[in-house]
C-alpha cells in the first residue's frame, strides 16, 4: 500500500490533505530501481493552481514516455504544511513516490509569474537544497523554464540552468547528456559546461556581469571557453507531430482549470506592444484541426472530465475555430460535457456559439480594449476600434445579453487624462447602446457593465521594455480619476468600476525587469517570511520594502526609469527570434501613434521568420 511522507497526524491537521497524497488518476508510478534519471517537475504555487498548468502536463507525459526516466511532481506546500515540515524536519517530497526531492537527479521549476519567486526559494529550502547554485554538489540539478526565464537574471544565482523556450525540443538531449555524465560519475561543473552548449540552455554561473557607475550594465559575457555569447530560444516548429498529454493527471481536488485543456495554437499574430507572450512565442503555429478533434475525444475518455476548454492567445484567430467548436458541441452534448470558451471576438459566430453552450442570462461579453481612447489604442497597437466594440455589443444586446466585462490598463506610455476619461466614456457608450437598441419592454433589467483596470507593467522583449512605469502614487491617482469620471456618466448606475491594488504591481515591475542584483532582495524577503506573494492575503509589502532597502536596491531604478535605447538590458543575451531592431522600431512607432498590421495582414519583418515555419510562410 502507498506510504506517505506525512504521517496521519499531520494530514489530519492540515487543510486539504489531498494536496499531498498523489495517487491521482493517470499519475505515473514506476519502479525506481529500473530508472536511470529521476526528474521532479515543480510548479511553485499551491497544488490546485499548479495542477491546472498544461505545460507541466506536456513535459510530464513526454518524460514518462522514456523508460529510463521517471518524472514526478511537486507543488508549494501550503502555509500550514510548510510550518509542519519546518517543525518536524520533513524534507519536501515528490507526490508520486513520496521520496525526498533531494534524492532526485533534476528539479525542474516552471516560472509562470514573478510573484512566485519566493515560493521557488521555499521549494529549495524545504527540499534541503542549498539556495545558491554555487553551493550545490550532490544535489539535484535545478532547472528553470517558462515565460519568466526570458529575463532569468533576478533568479540567476538560485538556478543551475535555465531552459529558454518550448520544452519539446531539446529536453531529451539534455537528459541523454546527463545519463552519460552520471554513468561516468562526472563533475557537476563539467555537466553544466556541456549543457550550456545545447541551444536554448543558459547556465548563469558561466557568465559575468559588470555594472557602470550609474547602475546600468557595463558588460555581460561568458567567462568560460566555448560558452555561447547568445542563448537562442527553442521553439517546436512541428506542433502536429509532437507530444500531447492524452492522459493528463486528474486531481481529486478541484483545480483552477478543472477540465480538459486543448491547446489550439501557440503564439499570436496581433503584436500588442505591451504583451510579452505575443512577442516571445512568435511565430504563430496552429495545430491541425483533425488532430485536435482526436485529442479531445481521447482526453475526455481518459480523464472523464465534465468540461473542455480551448487554450491559446487570441483564439478567434485560429483558422479552423468554427469547425472545431461545432465538432465539440456535437460531441459534448452526447456525453454531458460542457464547453468553456476562451474570450472570443464578439461577432455573429461567437454569439451563436455562446448561445448554444451557455445560459445567455448568466453569461457575459468580454472586451479587452486595454485603453480608453483610439489614440492610445494605436500606441499599444491594439487593433480593436470603438465601432467594433459598440457593434459587437449592440449585436449581443439584440441577442439577449446584458452583461459586459471590460478590461483596461492604466499607466500605458503616453497616457493622458483624456485617455483615462475615455475608459469611463466608452463604458457609458456601451450602456447607451443598450438602452437605445433594446426597447423597454424587451429589456431583461438594467445593463450591467463591469470595467476593470490593471496597472501596466513593462516587460522584457516587448516594444515597451524601455518604458517608464508609473509609481504607486501615480497609479492610485489615475484610478481615482477614472473612478471620478465614471461617476459623471449618464449611465453610472449601470457601471461598476474595479481596480487592482498597485502594491503588487510595483514589485512585479522590479522583478520583471530586474538584474542579478535583485536576487539578494528576493532572498531577504523570503527570509523575512514572504511566500505566496501572488496571494493578496499573504503579500507583505513591508518585507519587500525592507528587503530592497537592506540590499541597496532602488525600486525606481527598475520601474520608473525610462531606459536609453542603447543601454545593455539584463536580458539582451537571449535571442527570441524577434530582433531588438524590430522592438525599437515598434517603440518609436508607438510614440508616433502608428499601428503595425498583424502577421496575417502583412509581415512586418520581426525576425521570427528565421524559425522556418508558422504564419510567416502562410501569406
Amino acid at each position: 500500500m502507498r506510504k506517505l511522507a506525512f504521517k496521519d497526524e499531520i494530514l489530519n491537521r492540515v487543510e486539504k490533505p489531498a494536496r499531498y497524497i498523489g495517487n491521482e488518476v493517470n499519475s505515473v508510478m514506476k519502479d525506481k530501481k529500473e530508472i536511470a534519471i529521476r526528474f521532479c517537475m515543480c510548479f511553485p504555487d499551491v497544488y490546485e493552481i499548479g495542477m491546472s498548468h498544461l505545460g507541466i502536463q506536456i513535459l510530464y507525459d513526454m518524460f514518462n514516455q522514456r523508460e529510463d526516466v521517471w518524472c514526478e511532481r511537486v507543488y508549494s506546500p501550503w502555509i500550514d504544511a510548510h510550518e509542519e515540515m519546518k517543525r518536524e524536519n520533513i524534507p519536501l517530497f515528490a507526490l508520486e513516490s513520496q521520496d525526498p526531492i533531494k534524492e532526485f537527479d533534476f528539479l525542474g521549476i516552471t516560472i509562470q509569474y514573478e510573484m512566485c519567486y519566493t515560493n521557488i526559494l521555499q521549494i529549495l529550502d524545504l527540499s534541503g537544497i542549498p539556495l545558491f547554485s554555487k553551493e550545490r554538489e550532490e544535489e539535484p540539478i535545478v532547472i528553470g523554464g517558462g515565460p519568466c526565464v526570458y529575463n532569468p537574471e533576478p533568479l540567476a544565482d538560485f538556478f543551475d540552468l535555465f531552459y529558454i523556450g518550448e520544452g519539446e525540443t531539446v529536453y531529451y538531449h539534455l537528459l541523454d547528456l546527463y545519463k552519460e555524465h552520471k554513468k561516468q560519475r562526472g563533475k557537476r561543473k563539467d555537466f553544466l559546461k556541456k549543457a550550456a552548449k545545447i541551444p536554448g540552455i543558459y547556465v548563469p554561473s558561466f557568465y559575468h556581469v559588470s555594472y557602470k557607475e550609474d547602475g546600468t550594465i557595463q558588460s555581460f559575457f561568458p567567462v568560460e571557453d566555448g560558452i555561447p555569447n547568445m542563448v537562442h530560444k527553442e521553439l517546436e516548429m512541428n506542433l502536429q507531430e509532437t507530444y500531447y498529454p492524452l492522459k493528463p493527471v486528474v486531481p481529486f481536488l478541484r483545480a483552477t482549470q478543472d477540465r480538459v485543456v486543448l491547446e489550439i495554437q501557440r503564439g499570436c499574430i496581433r503584436g500588442c506592444r505591451f504583451c510579452q507572450a505575443g512577442m516571445i512565442y512568435r511565430p504563430v503555429r496552429e495545430r491541425d484541426v483533425n488532430k485536435l478533434k482526436e485529442y479531445a475525444s481521447e482526453m475526455l475518455k481518459n480523464t472523464g472530465y465534465e468540461e473542455i476548454s480551448l487554450s491559446s492567445l487570441s483564439s478567434s484567430d485560429y483558422s479552423h475555430l468554427e469547425e472545431l467548436v461545432s465538432f465539440l458541441i456535437d460531441q459534448c452534448k452526447e456525453r454531458g460535457v460542457n464547453i468553456s470558451l476562451p474570450s472570443l471576438r464578439i461577432d455573429s459566430f461567437s454569439l451563436d456559439v455562446m448561445s448554444k453552450i451557455q445560459d445567455i442570462r448568466k453569461s457575459s461579453l468580454t472586451f479587452a480594449p486595454e485603453a480608453g481612447s483610439q489614440r492610445l489604442r494605436n500606441v499599444i497597437n491594439k487593433g480593436l476600434t470603438e465601432e467594433e466594440i459598440l457593434g459587437g455589443a449592440s449585436l449581443a444586446f439584440k441577442g439577449g445579453w446584458n452583461r459586459v466585462k471590460l478590461y483596461f490598463m492604466l499607466g500605458l506610455p503616453t497616457e493622458t487624462e483624456e485617455d483615462m476619461y475615455g475608459i469611463a466614456m466608452l463604458s457609458d457608450k456601451i450602456a447607451r447602446i443598450y438602452y437605445e437598441t433594446i426597447p423597454k419592454e424587451e429589456r431583461n433589467g438594467k445593463v450591467q457593465i463591469v470595467a476593470s483596470t490593471s496597472f501596466f507593467i513593462p516587460k522584457p522583449f516587448t516594444p515597451f521594455q524601455w518604458a517608464k512605469m508609473d509609481t504607486k502614487e501615480e497609479f492610485i491617482k489615475k484610478a481615482r480619476i477614472v473612478n471620478h469620471a465614471m461617476k459623471e456618466q449618464l449611465n453610472r448606475k449601470s457601471i461598476k468600476y474595479n481596480w487592482h491594488e498597485p502594491h503588487v504591481s510595483q514589485l512585479e515591475g522590479v522583478l520583471a525587469r530586474g538584474d542579478r542584483r535583485v536576487g539578494m532582495a528576493i532572498l531577504s524577503a523570503y527570509k523575512k517570511g514572504s511566500i505566496f506573494d501572488a496571494w493578496t492575503e499573504h503579500f507583505q509589502e513591508t518585507n519587500w520594502l525592507e528587503a530592497f532597502m537592506e540590499n541597496h536596491i532602488s525600486i525606481d531604478f527598475y520601474t520608473t526609469r525610462e531606459r536609453d535605447l542603447d543601454e545593455i538590458l539584463p536580458w539582451d543575451f537571449i535571442d527570441t527570434g524577434v530582433t531588438k531592431e524590430f522592438l525599437k522600431k515598434e517603440w518609436e512607432k508607438a510614440l508616433k501613434e502608428q499601428e503595425t498590421p498583424n502577421c496575417k495582414e502583412r509581415c512586418s519583418g520581426c525576425g521570427a521568420r528565421k524559425f522556418g515555419g508558422g504564419v510567416c510562410y502562410e501569406n
Binding site: 489530519n12 489531498a18 498523489g22 488518476v25 481529486f252 475518455k301 454531458g336 453552450i357 451557455q358 445560459d359
Partner: protein, 237 residues
C-alpha cells in the same frame, strides 16, 4: 433504472473528502462508459447520490451510492469497467439493480457500524486502551446503563442537549478495537468519536482524539426495528 454501488475506501484515499469523492465518481462514470442519466438544463449533472458522507481521515468498507441509468444493456460488465478506472484505495464491492420503488440510500440510512482502534505504530490517550482485558465488560456497563447519557451537540446555529443512549445499538470488542452500531442519517446521527469520548468519561478515563483510527464497516436501514444492510436490497448485476 436505479443502481446501487457499494465500494470501500481505504489507505491514502481517506484524505479525499466527500465532495471530491463525488467528483471522482462523476468522472469515473464517464471513463467507464456507464450509461448514467443526466438532469436537464445548460449544465446537466449526473443523477447520483451518496448514502452518507464520510469524514476526512476515515476509512470505510461499506460506502453506498445510488445512480440512475438509461439502459440496462449498457450495464453489462459495468463492475469490471468501473473497477478498472479506480485508483488504489477505492474498490467497487458490488453493483445491484434496485426495485424502481426503492427509496434513495440517503433517505434510507438509519444506522452505521464503525470500528475504532489505535492507528498502527502510534499511542493513544491511555496505554493499551483498546487491548485492555476487561474492555468488553466496561463496554457493557456503559451501554446497558439504565440512565441517560446527555451530551451537548453543536449544530450550525445553536447548541442542543440530547440523550445519545437510545442512539447506541451495540458495542463490543473486535480485533483490538471497539465495534459499535450507532444512529446515522438525516434524523439522528452521532459520531463514533463522540460515543468513545462519552464512554471514557463514564469510566473516568481521560480522552484525547489522537492517533485514533476509524473504519466505517457498513450502513443500515431499518425494517420493523431490525437493521438491514444497504447492500442487501436489489439484484446482483
Amino acid at each position: 433504472m436505479k443502481i446501487r454501488i457499494k465500494f470501500s475506501k481505504y489507505g491514502v484515499m481517506k484524505y479525499v473528502g466527500h465532495l471530491d469523492m463525488m467528483r471522482f465518481f462523476q468522472k469515473a462514470m464517464r471513463r467507464a462508459f456507464i450509461p448514467i442519466a443526466y438532469s436537464e438544463g445548460f449544465s446537466p449533472h449526473q443523477i447520483m447520490s451518496f448514502a452518507a458522507p464520510l469524514g476526512v481521515g476515515m476509512e470505510s468498507q461499506g460506502e453506498y451510492m445510488d445512480i440512475e441509468v438509461t439502459s440496462m444493456e449498457g450495464m453489462e460488465g459495468a463492475i469490471k469497467r468501473l473497477q478498472e478506472t479506480m485508483v488504489e484505495g477505492i474498490e467497487i464491492q458490488g453493483l445491484k439493480k434496485l426495485p424502481e420503488s426503492e427509496k434513495s440510500a440517503m433517505s434510507q440510512v438509519k444506522r452505521a457500524a464503525y470500528w475504532i482502534g489505535q492507528r498502527e505504530g502510534t499511542a493513544v490517550f491511555q496505554e493499551n486502551f483498546f487491548s485492555q482485558k476487561n474492555l468488553d465488560e466496561k463496554l457493557k456497563e456503559f451501554y446497558m446503563y439504565p440512565g441517560e447519557i446527555i451530551v451537548t451537540k453543536q449544530t450550525k446555529r445553536s447548541e442542543k442537549i440530547i440523550d445519545i443512549k437510545p442512539m447506541i445499538y451495540k458495542m463490543e470488542v473486535l480485533k483490538e478495537g471497539i465495534y459499535m452500531e450507532v444512529a446515522a442519517g438525516s434524523t439522528e446521527n452521532i459520531k463514533p468519536t463522540m460515543v468513545l469520548k462519552e464512554f471514557c468519561s463514564f469510566h473516568h478515563i481521560p480522552y484525547e482524539e489522537k492517533n485514533i483510527q476509524i473504519i466505517r464497516m457498513d450502513l443500515y436501514t431499518e425494517k420493523d426495528g431490525m437493521p438491514i444492510s444497504l447492500g442487501e436490497t436489489g439484484e446482483i448485476l
